[in-house]
């Protein structure tokens, strides 16, 4: 059931993002758009001969994007029917990376062709920078007190949760009592607020775009642009706080994993909804101003590598408004931008390594060896040695009668290993295959173990030999 919800959730989140990217990258009519494949649209492109050529470029790459988009949609539907949570999670993670890369390929090719065509027309970058003296440093839309209040609320909620977990506030958390899982879960959701706060300040203090000779038009455009982002961050922060409160209530009144998955699903849908609202407002704003009032556009096409990454060593700014999608990106040539880019690359590589590791964990069966002196539980790099001389008692039971939550370690369909909190027992060591459905409880002088072999028969044989 959890696996099915997860698949649906990923589908509902990933497909709208891909559809949004498709329509923003490959518009059918390019003539009224501010850019064509990330290259500024200009009067020279609108002559009869040029527009014929650009029509072909747009048609060709849109067609490629159609094929890629359709393929990605079919793959996403197939992924819905994959068995098992772990396999599904790995497949969806890889799908997200591959789809984001694939959908951008025709755009990058189009960008390269447009830059070449621009050169053929003899257009060189004028490298003229504009600044509006009247508005410089004056346009702000962020409601700072409200943003701070949302963050104080988040911190207060995490503090209350930690106090409940530490039993200072006497609230029953059932199986989660004293595990600090509740605090970790709620903190991981609310940390989004703390991460978003510096971004809100950064965008509010960011450079104003000069789109017109008229300072009032520039002021109105930039004020609206910053307000849309500020409203997005503040509404998102309150939504996250609501999710935090709901999570705490679920921990107090309901103790099942399915509730947690539903809360996470709700959280992701809220993120998607908030972002969609932001995107709709931003597109409407650009449509209003860019089609009528914009007469000053900085020609920085060459600084956009493939139309996606901004690299300009002469530009001292760190954040630049994106050309692909919504929001802001970093100037890779900026000293801080270089570190952020490295961090981004490391995160991608790290997550891929993690996926390989999870994959190995999911496919390698656990092994239990009953030696002369020790019972050795082994899988990949993990090994538990239980000294037979220290065994006080053993017990054989049904896993579905056991109420346990993971405190630290691995919890997958076919592997549960690490420290778990068992209802009525406390913290124990697990090393079992939950699909077997049975466990052997081994009580030693200093620890309690719940183990099984990889199959039911092997587990029964193991119990017979240990007891």
């Amino acid at each position: 059931m959890t696996s099915m919800y997860f698949g649906l959730l990923m589908f509902v989140c990933a497909i709208p993002v891909l559809i949004f990217l498709y329509f923003s990258l490959y518009p059918r009519k390019w003539i009224n758009k501010p850019r064509v494949f990330g290259v500024n649209n200009r009067p020279e492109f609108k002559t009869e001969k040029s527009s014929e050529f650009i029509d072909i470029v747009v048609y060709t790459h849109r067609k490629q994007a159609n094929v890629i988009g359709l393929t990605l949609l079919i793959i996403a539907i197939i992924l819905l029917f994959l068995p098992g949570f772990t396999i599904k999670m790995i497949a969806w993670s890889i799908y997200i990376y591959v789809s984001l890369f694939a959908i951008l390929v025709p755009y990058a090719l189009g960008n390269s062709e447009m830059k070449k065509y621009k050169k053929c027309l003899g257009i060189v970058n004028s490298k003229v920078l504009y600044a509006d003296l009247k508005n410089a440093g004056n346009i702000h839309s962020l409601n700072v007190p409200v943003l701070i209040i949302t963050n104080i609320f988040s911190i207060a909620l995490v503090t209350v949760t930690a106090l409940i977990d530490a039993n200072i506030i006497p609230v029953e958390l059932g199986i989660y009592n004293g595990t600090f899982i509740c605090t970790a879960f709620i903190s991981s959701i609310l940390i989004t607020n703390l991460i978003a706060m510096p971004f809100a300040f950064m965008v509010d203090n960011s450079r104003n775009n000069v789109i017109s000779e008229n300072s009032d038009i520039n002021a109105n455009y930039n004020r609206a642009r910053k307000k849309i982002f500020a409203d997005f961050i503040i509404s998102l922060s309150w939504c996250i706080n609501v999710v935090g409160v709901l999570s705490l209530l679920v921990f107090i009144f309901g103790h099942s994993e399915i509730h947690m998955v539903l809360i996470l699903g709700f959280f992701l849908l809220l993120l998607l909804f908030s972002f969609s609202m932001f995107a709709v407002k931003k597109l409407a704003l650009d449509k209003k101003y860019m089609t009528q009032d914009a007469n000053l556009i900085e020609d920085d096409d060459d600084s956009w590598v493939l139309g996606i990454f901004y690299y300009n060593p002469k530009d001292k700014r760190l954040t630049i408004e994106k050309r692909v999608g919504m929001g802001w990106t970093v100037n890779i040539a900026h000293p801080v931008g270089k570190h952020i880019t490295m961090l981004g690359i490391l995160s991608v590589v790290g997550s891929l390594v993690l996926l390989i590791w999870i994959g190995m964990m999911a496919t390698t069966p656990i092994k239990v060896i009953n030696g002369n002196d020790y019972v050795i539980c082994h899988q990949l790099w993990d090994e538990y040695r239980i000294d037979k001389n220290e065994i006080v008692s053993t017990e054989y039971g049904n896993l579905n009668e056991l109420q346990a939550v993971r405190v630290a370690g691995t919890g997958m369909e076919n592997v549960a290993k690490g420290t778990f909190s068992v209802s009525g027992v406390g913290k124990c060591k697990f090393f079992l295959n939950p699909m077997v459905g049975k466990y052997i409880k081994i009580v030693t002088e200093d620890r309690i173990y719940y183990i099984s072999d990889d199959t039911l028969e092997a587990t029964e044989a193991l119990y017979e030999s240990i007891k």
Binding site: S126, Y130, A131, A136, G137
Partner: protein, 121 residues
């Protein structure tokens, strides 16, 4: 007022800023006593080093076009010292422009017309 900085120009950026602020004062786009952006804000708007903007402001201040103080930042001077004469540097520049105009075959009347148009702006 919109400042336009050409990165490919032979004229240094601080001089481009200085010249455009002077032209803004002359045309009335920047009125007497009008607040100018801070060095940090303007450098961020153009995406250049703060030292470049600071240098432009120092020149404008030494030439008497703007005044700066810690509390109010930079402002256009309410009373700019009117020497009623051209500096030697500007005379030399004008001489060069007139010479080039003569060589290109421009008549005095046409040249006057251009001057009048610019004067009127």
């Amino acid at each position: 007022m919109i400042i336009k900085i050409n990165e490919y120009s032979d004229v240094p950026i601080y001089l481009q800023i200085r010249n455009q602020i002077v032209m803004g004062i002359s045309s009335g786009e920047l009125s007497a006593g009008e607040q100018l952006p801070t060095v940090r804000a303007l450098s961020m708007e153009i995406g250049i080093n703060t030292m470049t903007v600071s240098k432009a402001y120092q020149i404008l201040k030494s030439e008497g076009y703007i005044m700066t103080d810690r509390k109010n930042g930079a402002r256009v001077r309410t009373e700019i010292n009117q020497t009623k004469s051209l500096s030697n540097v500007n005379k030399e520049e004008l001489k060069r422009i007139v010479s080039e105009a003569k060589i290109s075959g421009l008549s005095k009347g046409e040249f006057d017309k251009i001057i009048n148009e610019m004067w009127g702006k």
